[in-house]
Symmetry: C2
Subunit: 238 residues, 2 copies
Amino acid sequence: MASRTIENYLKQLWLEQQDTRGKYVPMGKLAALVGVTAGTATTMVKAIADSGLAKYAPRAGVRLTKAGEQLALHVLRRHRLLELFLVEVLGIDWSDAHGEAEELEHVISETVLARIDSLLGHPSVDPHGDPIPSSAGKFETLELCSLAELNTGNATVIERIVDQSSEFLRFAQSSGLVPRAQVVIEHTNPQAGAISARPAGKEPVMLSMVAAAKFLVRPCNARRGKRRNRRPVPPVSP
Amino acid sequence: MASRTIENYLKQLWLEQQDTRGKYVPMGKLAALVGVTAGTATTMVKAIADSGLAKYAPRAGVRLTKAGEQLALHVLRRHRLLELFLVEVLGIDWSDAHGEAEELEHVISETVLARIDSLLGHPSVDPHGDPIPSSAGKFETLELCSLAELNTGNATVIERIVDQSSEFLRFAQSSGLVPRAQVVIEHTNPQAGAISARPAGKEPVMLSMVAAAKFLVRPCNARRGKRRNRRPVPPVSP
DNA sequence: TTATTTATTTTGATTACTCAAAGTACATGG
DNA sequence: CCATGTACTTTGAGTAATCAAAATAAATAA
């Protein structure tokens, strides 16, 4: 069994390497994500690599092996099921659920997890719309585009929000920009780098392109032309 | 904040010193309860005593201070609320709940605990009938007597079971000897050291005096005469 | 190319917890 | 009153995780 420390390293590593086919995660990045100094990360990563869960290339970075990915996905599954459980069953605030789950994910047993899973009806996404890996370690993510890619007049449904910070989630909720909400793009102003989005039955909300990019939507009537990325926003949510 | 290790020491200490007004808990006893060697317990207890949570008397033993008791009661509250929650809400088996709660009790936040408490309707006892300390750290225990103290023909209701082992709990459940169950004493045989008890609507069950003493009941029509203890069975349940 | 900045690794030390084994105090039985 | 066994404490050592600071390598600027 991996210690909770190692589980955290694996989870962060997975989230970080997720959208970078084959690239190594630099030490400094990982250290910042886990919240330790670079020296500590180096030592831990070498130990993790020794146990076969990652490949470590000195001065280049680190990358999970298949085994490491599987373990990381199990941690992620626990995390996201717990988040949904905390929100749906215990009525914990959306913006607090992430932090709470961060602790619980390392101590919950398989038995309890299975009960939670069935109580929630084997859900496929957590409260932020992030996909929940299956118990077999399969992970499926929808091809979504972001609010930032839509034209004026487009109408869509928010599927996912890729920012876990309490502050951003509180803002999103108070504006009505939550998963499952219908939204119409009222104005786009590429020059000002901002758009105006109106959630059904709510006031229009001003969003910078950076903020808009955090809302993934469907269907995706993306404007043609200069779409720089096929997958516009890396899924950064733990 | 006390580490989970220290929380465990405090909890065990509280349970052990509970019914012994003023007596010190011997090191060996504590070590066995926590599951460490005696040397380890000595070192830890000295550290705990230094932080003001216990009084340590070399070669005599250790005893919680008021501050230590308060902390222990908060751990116990978390443990017992979690046990009830696991059984009532998640449908976890009665006999497994204890072990699961043992882990969770050290990571659950005040916020989540408060939600669990209100979801359960601010309960006063856990699934074994053990009292749940209040959030203010108050602990109230009913004056109960045990099945072992009743005469043939007496009828009572089981209030509490003072053994947390999975095996015993499985036996109790399968016999129908669960909290809230009505029971009639069919025979008592002090010579053989055994009694026969019949739960309402079930087959009679043979119990040794030791086993019978683990079931606390009410009302208590105790037989007169040689009752050795006012509080017959020390509450040993974590 | 050389110098400087930046990222990374190494080193040495620390904290919290643990054990095994050696040493010590004490009650108890002869 | 001595001898002995049991419970307890001390000692020395180990593991897991961490940090600060020194050393090193690579990238960038001059």
